[in-house]
């Protein structure tokens, strides 16, 4: 027996919602970063689910791309946070408001 695609999609939506709320409410840069990763992987999950449902390999291919982009993003993002931390001794986003009027 196979799990219906709806369940995967519901799980993906749940993960996306958690990531979204986390990205919008958290103040710590690393936490926000993790939340974004959560959303990316929610998208990946739905892609894989559709891929199997529709019997198309394209979806799984895109997932590989997303993973690669996410890894690069993580590298750049973490490097940025380290640089910011060295300058300002914090990565609390409420206190990093250099662009403020």
């Amino acid at each position: 027996m196979s799990v219906p695609v709806t369940w995967y999609l519901l799980l993906a939506a749940l993960l996306f919602a958690i990531g979204c709320v986390g990205a919008l409410t958290r103040r710590n840069g690393i936490n926000i970063f993790l939340s974004i990763e959560l959303m990316l992987n929610a998208a990946n999950l739905s892609l894989v689910a559709y891929s199997r449902q529709l019997d198309l390999r394209t979806g799984q291919l895109i997932v590989l791309f997303v993973l690669a982009v996410a890894a690069a993003e993580a590298a750049v993002g973490l490097a940025l946070f380290i640089a910011v931390f060295r300058q300002r001794r914090t990565i609390d986003l409420n206190r990093i408001n250099l662009m403020r009027w």
Binding site: I32, L93, N94
Partner: protein
């Protein structure tokens, strides 16, 4: 010699330009040599050209310097010497040079000696361009040039309040006329694609139907439209009703300027232009009649004002306006050679009178009020005799020049059976004799009425001033020979090639006794002089004051020049000023500046409000982004 024709206007122009190149403080002798020398060379060249011109087989010489325009519109910078411009050339260079010479003495002590001569040379250049041009555009350049010089020289004493005002007035009133002149030129371009006299007039004369169709907004024929436009232009330059108001105020300039520009040459440019355009005027009988009526009205109107003026230059100014009216009367009646004849004789005797008055003013230390003069005959004998000759000439006493030219005009009016115009002209002649001899008696007869200091200062003017007086006096006596009445009217025969006769236009010829008319005119002039002698002969203005007290209203009306300046001020100047204020304060400052400022203020307020959205907080931006995505999503679904 004729090949050097182009040098005649260029020489004074070079004089004016080199005047500025003389360095910071050139010696006065150098300025004099340059700026009197240039008109002298012009005069000699002009005499040489006229000599050669007189020996040409056909009296016409054209010289094209270069093509001004490209394309279908053909206008050249070109000069034309024909009998009409030859007469003008002689008058302008001869009188112009004498007045330069006179100015050496008159302006000798003036701070602005050098500036004065630069302007005066520039004026000569522009005036010569005006009379020598072979098309209307070259004439117009000269026309505007003399207007500019008039403005500069009227406002010459710029540190006093009135002269700059008078200069502006002269310039602005002239602009009104210039506008109409331009319209006339545009009409000619529209029809003929050229402004060259030699290309337009013969075609019209051969085929008058070319200009007979309706043209313009008022249902006039083409000829009438152009003639009317040009006459309005002439009204401004030659001070005719209703645009004469600038000329009396132009007396604020130095006296030699009044003589040269505002009596002898520039103000006659309008007469020259009308005579030059005679073909078109002959085909526009209605406009010609209008010209004659305006001329006669101006003549008598200005003459009556002249009766009550106390400033010697104002008397001469109104007399100039009046005499210009005479010239237009002649031109309107179709007596074009009479108009040019009077122009020429008037140039001599009016320049003479102005220079004489300048000599008097010079001796009186700047005093111009005739009520404070008197008995100057003894102190200024040469000025007295020459002024008397000028006065006799303008009054029209035989055998002085004014007699012949005025008589020819009155004769033309009578020959045309225009009895009203004839009568107006005759009355004006009487008034002219009266007010001119009023000036003579008040200035030179009786006893001196000025202060003791002035009396001590009285002296005859230096030779550089009296020599031009005598030369002009010779002209005022003898110029009449040019137009002796009858078959041997030299000027009339000379000008006949210029006065074209359009096919189908017949001059009305009525037999009239020339001798009888001449005797009547002479009697009227003599009566005017006799009356002036009875009133002013010995006791100054005493009798005039008695009369003024008895007819206070009438005298006040004349002394205040019929309140025309005041009426213009109320009707035109102030409404225009109010309109200008409205456009300045209302349209420019409020609407235009306001709308720009409103735009700027809107941007600033929007920026002030919008900057609160830029919190600098990344999570806010993320929220906006999220909401945006949500909106897009909703939009996709529905």
């Amino acid at each position: 010699m004729l090949d050097l024709l182009w040098l005649i206007p260029i020489l004074p122009l070079a004089g004016a330009a080199l005047n500025g190149a003389l360095g910071r403080r050139p010696p006065k002798a150098l300025v004099t040599a340059l700026n009197v020398g240039a008109p002298l060379l012009s005069l000699l060249l002009a005499l040489g050209c006229l000599w050669d011109f007189a020996h040409l087989a056909a009296p016409r010489f054209e010289q094209t310097l270069y093509a001004w325009t490209a394309g279908p519109l053909k206008i050249d910078v070109a000069f034309l010497l024909d009998p009409l411009s030859a007469v003008m050339l002689f008058v302008v260079t001869f009188v112009g040079f004498l007045i330069h010479l006179y100015s050496v003495g008159y302006m000798g002590h003036d701070e602005g000696y050098r500036r004065y001569f630069a302007y005066l040379n520039l004026f000569m250049a522009a005036m010569l361009l005006l009379v020598l041009g072979d098309n209307y555009l070259v004439m117009f350049v000269g026309w505007e040039g003399v207007g500019l010089c008039s403005y500069l020289l009227v406002g010459f004493y710029y540190d006093q309040p009135f002269p700059p005002y008078a200069g502006k007035k002269a310039f602005i009133v002239n602009r009104v006329g210039d506008f109409a002149f331009l319209l006339g030129m545009f009409a000619l371009i529209d029809r003929f694609n050229t402004l060259k006299y030699g290309a337009i007039f013969p075609r019209i004369a051969a085929n008058p139907s070319l200009v007979a169709d309706a043209y313009g907004p008022f249902g006039l024929s083409f000829a009438s439209f152009v003639a009317l436009c040009f006459f309005i232009g002439a009204m401004g330059k030659s001070a005719q009703i209703p645009l004469y108001v600038w000329l009396p105020d132009a007396m604020a300039g130095p006296t030699p300027v009044s003589a040269l520009i505002h009596a002898a040459t520039m103000v006659t440019a309008g007469v020259y232009m009308v005579v030059r355009t005679n073909v078109i005027y002959q085909l526009a009988p209605g406009v010609s009649q209008f010209v004659a009526v305006i001329g006669a009205a101006t003549a008598i109107f200005a003459a009556t004002i002249g009766l009550a003026q106390t400033d010697i230059k104002k008397v001469l100014a109104y007399s100039t306006v009046s005499q210009l009216g005479y010239m237009f009367l002649a031109a309107g009646l179709g007596a074009y050679s009479a108009a040019i004849f009077h122009l020429g004789t008037h140039a001599f005797f009016k320049a003479l009178l102005f220079l004489g008055s300048g000599s008097v003013i010079h001796a009186m230390g700047g005093e111009q009020d005739m009520r404070r003069m008197g008995g100057l005959k003894k102190a200024l004998p040469q000025t007295y005799w020459t002024f008397l000759i000028g006065a006799l000439a303008i009054a029209g006493i035989f055998p002085f020049a004014g007699f012949f030219s005025k008589d020819e005009i009155l004769h033309a009016a009578a020959a045309n059976r225009q009895w009203v115009l004839y009568l107006v002209g005759l009355i004006t002649a009487g008034l002219t004799a009266f007010y001119m001899f009023r000036a003579v008696f008040l200035t030179f007869f009786g006893r001196f009425r000025g202060g003791p200091e002035q009396e001590h200062h009285l002296h005859e003017s230096p030779p550089s001033m009296t020599i031009p007086l005598w030369l002009l006096a010779v002209g005022a006596v003898t110029a009449g020979v040019a137009g002796l009445p009858g078959e041997h009217n030299w000027l009339h025969n000379l000008l006949s090639p210029v006065i074209l006769h359009p096919a189908g236009v017949k001059a009305p010829e009525h037999e009239i006794s020339a001798l009888l008319l001449a005797l009547i005119a002479l009697a009227v002039a003599a009566a005017g002089i006799w009356l002036a002698f009875r009133v002013y002969g010995d006791q100054g203005t005493a009798r005039e004051e008695a009369w003024a007290a008895r007819f206070r209203r009438l005298y006040g009306l004349l002394a205040h020049k019929y309140y025309v300046d005041e009426i213009y001020d109320r009707l035109i100047v102030r409404p225009l000023g109010a309109l200008a204020l409205l456009f300045w304060k209302g349209v420019d400052a409020l609407l235009i500046d306001g709308s720009i400022n409103l735009g700027a203020a809107t941007a600033r307020v929007a920026g002030e409000a919008g900057r609160f959205s830029t919190t600098g907080n990344v999570r806010n931006y993320a929220l906006y982004f999220f909401l945006g995505v949500l909106l897009l999503f909703l939009w996709l679904i529905y």
